[in-house]
Amino acid sequence: MSGPKTTEPVLDVRNLTATFGDGELTAVNDVSFTVGSGEVLGLVGESGSGKSVTLRSIIRLVPASGDVSGEVRWQGQNILAMRDAELRGVRGGQISMIFQEPMSALNPVLPVFTQIEENLKAHTDLDGNGRRARARELMDMVGIPDAARRLKEFPHQFSGGMRQRVMIAIALASNPRLLLADEPTTALDVTIQDQILKLILDLRDELSMSVVLVTHDLGVVAATCDRMAVMYAGRIVETGTVSEVFAQPNHAYTRGLLGSVPHAGTERSRLLSIDGTPPPLDRIPPGCAFNPRCEFATDACRATVPPLQDLSPGRSVACFNRDSVVAAGSPV
């Protein structure tokens, strides 16, 4: 784990808001964060907290019923205001995405080669031979042996881990500057998980990419990310470097999440695990959305939404009672 590489951010997300059903359901609420060059940012939260919608909204990949507003600054432009043709140049060419379930995210009826090649056709000037060579190179790069033969195969002919490697190969085909990875290892078993995460980190170094890694697993964050942003009910509630946040969570929700991480050599300690589940979008409580589940909640929490306040550059928190949370210490 390296420290934050604080240079000019490559991606600057400002006040990102995503709604469904004519604006009635807010899945992502006024989210802002930055990603530095070569940095791995972890986007963390329980299932349903809005991580995937946030990630997809960055490249406007939402269904017709969804609406995205705010600003996504990328290479001096706002992705959310781009013309469709420009957006297509960014998607896959500059910013790529990998999905949680490689089985459902790969087209079942197309050979792997076609699925790599169409990316190359869209974003490079390579001719047929060049594309074939590049496809083999990509398969080697992500560690799939016997590339020439396997390129002709279909997704169902690969194992789960190999399938995820295929998806990474497709995503990286045209040398993107940023990889958006949506729980890339959740569907895999533990040993394969580690291999895939290591592969992503290696490729990040090799290709000097930045990565936004969505996960609900703080173990994964600790092992792979430089900085992290914690999401709850569509909002970011805490940001900071991974070491800062693990050493001293400032938000009660972060503290709860950390408390339910299994520690090396011990059984999963459930001492601090959070009761209940995140609210559905049509029943987000007023005030701090976490208040019904929060042991630190006070009247203010039930009345007003706590603003996200900067503690230091890159370190922010949205909690009225962060002093009490800090006083309670880190559970890790």
Binding site: R91, V109, A122, F154, M167
Partner: protein, 310 residues
């Protein structure tokens, strides 16, 4: 793929054998016997016996079946009782007309169904969607002969854009004559395919692999055709294959309405005339045709969906 095709071709053998058994049995179950069909109703017993002997109908069923299979295998389907022509000649004469009508209808059905399914699916819930679906609903609930008569009256008799019947001379003229009948025949199949494809597209359009394809920055057309349509077509092709039999039986009615000299008309005439060698021969030919179509749709299906075991 080659071995799959070989295997499927081998599977045709038992299918054809089964068809022969059914046809053999059916003809013997038909009301009225061939002898009285040939001799008329006032035949004397001696003549009936002679005819039966000539046709081999006095021998045991198993022997009759053996003879039957042997002659079919050698391409001999017997002679028509009324037309006094070899059944194979009649089939060679009439079946191509029906095949052409059916193929045209199938093409027209697909050409109507695919784009409209797209419109309906991509604009689901809008006026365009309900218009398309409503129009097809009407088409679906209208009997083939009625639709045929309407088209005939409007585009044939009134506007004189198309001939009101017959088959014409030469390929182009044939196509021209078959156009209205083919549209008539295509309509309900088109409606069925459209409905199926519309919901298949809706089912696929938000699939993860379509999202992934979009995230690659592919042109919308490519996403639509390569990723959405191709997957959506899998179930529609299966349905299409299954509909071929229905299409052929629809051809019988259509040929009658439009006075087209096809196999359908021949079949109807032969059933009324108890011309059982013709009925038998045509049934075999049509059944084999349907089996071959099933085989072809299976092959398309395997090509569309590599997960189908080969």
């Amino acid at each position: 793929m080659a071995s799959y095709i070989a295997r499927r071709l081998l599977q045709l053998i038992p299918t054809v054998l089964f068809i022969l058994i059914v046809v053999f049995a059916l003809v013997r179950l038909l009301p009225g016997d061939p002898a009285s069909a040939i001799l008329g109703d006032r035949a004397v017993d001696a003549d009936v016996e002679r005819i039966n002997r000539e046709l081999g109908l006095d021998r045991p069923l198993v022997v009759q079946f053996g003879v039957f299979v042997k002659s079919v295998a050698t391409g001999d389907l017997g002679d028509s009782i009324h037309l006094k022509l070899p059944v194979t000649t009649l089939i060679a004469d009439r079946l191509p007309v029906t095949i052409m009508l059916t193929v045209m209808a199938a093409l027209i059905a697909v050409v109507m169904a695919v784009p409209l399914a797209f419109v309906a699916a991509l604009r689901r819930g809008t006026a365009a969607d309900s218009t398309v679906r409503g129009a097809f609903q009407v088409g679906l609930s209208m009997p083939v002969f009625y639709l045929g008569l309407i088209l005939l009256t409007v585009f044939g008799a009134k506007l004189r854009w198309f001939p009101v019947g017959g088959y014409g001379e030469g390929f182009v003229d044939n196509l021209y004559h078959l156009f209205l009948p083919a549209v008539t025949l295509a309509f309900s199949l088109s409606a069925i395919l459209m409905r199926n494809l519309r919901s298949a597209i809706i089912g696929v359009i938000d699939a993860e692999y379509v999202q992934f394809a979009r995230s690659k920055g592919l042109a919308p057309k490519l996403v639509l055709f390569r990723h959405v349509l191709r997957n959506a077509l899998i179930s529609t092709v299966a349905l299409f294959g299954l509909s071929i039999g229905t299409l052929l039986s629809g051809a019988v009615i259509t040929e009658t309405v439009f006075a087209i000299p096809g196999a359908g008309r021949l079949m109807v005439d032969s059933i009324y005339g108890r011309d059982y060698p013709v009925v038998q021969g045509l049934t075999i030919a049509l059944a084999v045709l349907v089996s071959v179509t099933f085989l072809l749709t299976d092959l398309v299906q395997v090509w569309l969906d590599p997960r189908v075991s080969r």
